[in-house]
């Protein structure tokens, strides 16, 4: 029994499936029992089917210009309902605080005059754009989509590693992972209720439509992609397809007199909202990089005059700057007058002389990150770095202390992962996605669990060869009313129809009446008669 799990040994890190005593956590009971009934051949077959599914469907991620199927591991990451409620609230709280921060910063900047954040910190952020100072979006939203990276430390606490409020990617894999898993191992879904992830495109589309410039009742929304060579191109097509929107490139758009148009076979057509997946720097050659071929000249002016709405807004990068990150707990208190639900990972600000001295002394035991990087770029993990790498780092940090932060090496939690023929613990993080429509912040149940496939590896980014896992948020146990029917059944305001439907017990539908008998060709009827027993003339 359990040969695929017989050698499963958890390390120093928190393991999502097994506790320190080696017993299975309640949320993983169903997955564990399914796994322990499988042989390594079974698992290999499932893994192959998952990989084939992704190759045929072209679910890929470009690494250095080569399309690769995005590795999906077959063991899901399971999150129990009470824990998810905390994460959900914590992520939404952060998005609300960052939203308030951006709204303030690009208008009155009280946060600076009140002394919460030093002004020099903001103006020195590479993603603070004066070009958008004073612009207020029609419905006030700047962070339409956010991805907040969470990790779990060895004590079992969930902490925020970083915020992504520019163009966070990965949500498409949440949706395709679920589809692939349902096809590949349907029986694992049978005995528990897992919250669906299909509601995302509708939520996003609603938020984008609500962001339309004033006076536009039925906005034309488009998705703007840098093009087919972007690593996340697959995601752009999936989002456009599932929202029923045009996927445009910069060259498909044109700005005229503060309005944006797309080139169609019928001539120019007005565009009201752009869900852009192009970075700020490339968005408008007039204001930002003049050599950008991916953007649209005049776009910033169109935004300024209210001719078009951009999601996410330009200049958001200042809010996910890793040095601003260290102030987010203060921002939550300042803007929301609440205590942070999810704490940060301890972080040293290298600008502060004392902190810098300490960090430079202990460089070989810390993680040092550039403040404006993403995708795992430029991260140096002290214990793994060579002496020359550390020396180079020390030099760079001393030259530009504003450019770097340092954090202790956190042993991310682990989840069983199929490595060759058996299951082994591998480190994971979690990126939940939040959508802000201006009225409330909705968090997609689950999010993208990224897994570092090499043993002991702590960097999970897909651009560093990481894989992913399906993330299952278990539904809370149903509250049954005395009649035995589910109480959520009549909640009409619930947008996610599918979500409420899963909680409804199956009932037998009425048998449809009035269907007419189906007709076959006369020839077949004759043939049947000829072959029948009455063929008297053969006697």
């Amino acid at each position: 029994m359990a040969d695929v799990l017989s050698n499963y040994r958890t390390g120093d890190a928190f393991d999502e499936m097994m506790d320190a005593e080696g017993s299975v956590r309640p949320s993983y009971k169903a997955v564990y029992s399914a796994l322990s009934r499988s042989t390594s051949d079974d698992l290999r077959m499932i893994a192959e089917s998952l990989a084939n599914n992704y190759t045929q469907a072209g679910v890929t991620f470009d690494v250095g210009g080569v399309e690769r199927p995005f590795p999906l591991d077959l063991v899901p990451r399971v999150i129990a309902s009470p824990e998810w409620e905390i994460i959900e609230a914590g992520v939404a709280q952060r998005v609300r605080a960052l939203e308030a921060f951006l709204a303030d910063l690009y208008t009155e900047a009280r946060v600076i005059s009140d002394g919460v954040i030093p002004s020099q910190l903001v103006t020195s952020s590479t993603h603070f754009h004066r070009a958008v100072w004073g612009i207020t979006p029609a419905n006030g939203v700047r962070i339409h989509v956010a991805g907040v990276d969470l990790i779990r430390n060895p004590d079992g606490d969930v902490r925020v590693l970083e915020d992504n409020v520019r163009v966070p990617s990965g949500v498409s894999y949440v949706m395709t992972n679920r589809n692939a898993m349902i096809t590949a191992m349907p029986e694992a879904f049978a005995n528990q209720r897992i919250r669906p992830v299909t509601g995302y495109p509708t939520r996003l589309l609603t938020a984008l439509r609500m962001a339309a410039p004033a006076g536009v009742d039925d906005p034309t929304v488009v998705v703007l992609t840098p093009g087919v060579y972007n690593p996340a191109y697959f995601e752009h097509t999936l989002l456009a397809r599932t929202m029923g929107l045009e996927l445009v490139e910069g060259r498909d758009l044109e700005c005229r007199r503060g309005r944006v148009f797309m080139r169609t076979t019928a001539g120019l057509q007005r565009v009201d909202v752009i869900y852009r997946r192009v970075d700020d720097d490339f968005l408008d050659p007039v204001h930002f990089r003049s050599d950008s071929m991916l953007g649209v000249p005049g776009l910033v002016n169109a935004v300024r005059t209210g001719g078009v709405a951009l999601a996410n807004a330009i200049g958001n990068g200042v809010a996910d700057d890793k040095l601003i990150y260290t102030y987010v707990p203060d921002l939550i208190k300042y803007y929301l007058r609440e205590d942070p639900i999810l704490p940060n990972v301890d972080t040293w600000r290298l600008e502060e002389d004392e902190a810098r001295e300490e960090v430079l002394d202990r460089l070989d035991e810390l993680v040092v990150k550039p403040v404006d990087g993403s995708g795992g770029k430029g991260i140096v993990i002290g214990p793994r770095a060579s002496k020359s790498e550390l020396d180079a780092l020390r030099r760079r940090v001393s030259e530009d202390p504003r450019g770097w932060i340092a954090q202790p090496v956190v042993q991310l939690s682990t989840v069983p992962t199929l490595i060759e023929d058996c299951l082994q613990p591998r480190h994971v993080d979690l990126r939940p996605f939040a959508v802000n429509n201006g009225e409330d912040v909705w968090v997609l149940p689950g999010g993208l669990t990224r897994v570092a496939l090499p043993e002991g590896e702590l960097v999970v980014n897909s651009s560093k060869g990481g894989g992913s896992k399906d993330t299952w948020v278990l539904s809370p146990p149903p509250h049954r009313s005395p009649s035995g029917r589910n109480s959520t059944e009549h909640k009409e305001e619930d947008v996610d129809h599918a979500e409420s439907q899963t909680a409804v017990p199956l009932t037998v539908a009425q048998i449809p009446v009035g269907m007419k008998p189906r007709i076959n060709s006369q020839r077949q009827q004759q043939d049947q008669q000829q072959q029948g027993p009455q063929r008297g003339w053969t006697c």
Binding site: Q56, V228, R251, D252, T265
Partner: protein, 309 residues
């Protein structure tokens, strides 16, 4: 519909059709090449390549023919290239084409062979290519919405089919000692239909008539011209503002139809190469007209930093 997407759909149609027709062309002639001992292999291969407008191969052999028209990804005339290009266009139009259709193109591309094969392996490959194209046609016909996108794809297919049938027809005039027409008819899958239409009594003249001007046989030049015109007219109705240039395409296709329909068949046969090359000119003109009216991108904007002049 976005101009860029319309262009992609047009070329998906063309490339899938091109892959299929190249496979038909190769199948038609491979057998004759192998059976026929009178003509030199090099001459025959050179003629076939010339029909596909390839002239840079010196002293081509059968192996070369299969490489250039079959499996070499770097040859723009190869089936491999056509499917890779179709897949590239499909990837750019992924959000508008049905998922099944994308998966059909994508998995075809994944399964394309890149290693050389000889005449014996060729038939398995060529049959497979035709099957994949048939699958593409079937899926698109059964699930694609009949909007402008569909019309652009059909237009691409029809124009490509006209072009490729003209090359197949021209190949019938290559002499290997016996008449090529039955083989060409078989290559188009129309041999039996032809026999039924003409009750078994035929000459080369009727065969040419069937492949060039028959309106009922879907792989004839005339049928393709009519289908392309239909698509062009539907798109023009839906896009009144931009349809001006497209009239040029409709007009030149119409002129060609009239010319073929009322031509003296014997004259056509006498000047077959010339006439078929004229057909190819018209499909090229129509393609340019469609591109300028519907696919045109903006004029490139030049940015000059202030003070640099």
């Amino acid at each position: 519909m976005l101009s860029r997407i319309a262009e992609s759909l047009f070329w998906i149609g063309r490339y899938v059709e091109r892959a299929e027709d190249t496979a038909r062309f190769l199948q038609t002639h491979l057998r004759m090449l192998i059976e026929d001992t009178t003509a030199a292999e090099v001459d025959a291969c050179r003629n076939l390549l010339a029909l596909m407008s390839v002239d840079e191969v010196e002293d081509p052999t059968l192996t070369e023919l299969l490489r250039v028209l079959g499996y070499d990804p770097s040859e723009p005339t190869s089936i491999y290239f056509a499917y890779a290009a179709a897949r590239d266009n499909a990837r750019r139009a992924r959000e508008v084409i049905p998922l099944d259709l994308w998966e059909c193109v994508n998995s075809t591309w994944h399964q394309l062979p890149t290693t050389p094969f000889g005449a014996s392996g060729a038939h398995v490959f060529l049959n497979w290519v035709r099957e994949r194209s048939a699958m593409f046609a079937g899926i698109s016909r059964s699930i694609m919405v009949r909007d402008d996108g569909w019309e652009f794809m059909s237009m691409g297919r029809s124009l490509e089919q006209v072009d490729m049938t003209s090359r197949l027809v021209a190949s019938a005039s290559l002499t290997h000692g016996s008449s090529q027409w039955p083989a060409v008819l078989r290559g188009c899958g129309g041999h039996d239909a032809f026999l039924r239409t003409y009750r078994g009594l035929y000459t080369d003249r009727e065969a040419a008539e069937f492949l060039i001007v028959d309106t009922k046989f879907p792989r004839s030049i005339m049928h393709g011209l009519i289908a392309a015109t239909d698509s062009l007219e539907k798109v023009a109705q839906n896009n009144v503002l931009t349809a001006r240039h497209a009239q040029t395409a409709i007009r030149s296709l119409g002129q060609l139809r009239a010319r073929l329909e009322y031509a003296d068949l014997d004259d056509l046969l006498d000047n077959l190469n010339h006439e078929m090359s004229a057909v190819q000119d018209v499909t090229a003109e129509a393609t340019i007209a469609v591109a300028t009216s519907y696919f045109a991108a903006a004029d490139p904007t030049a940015w000059i930093t202030e003070g640099t002049r």
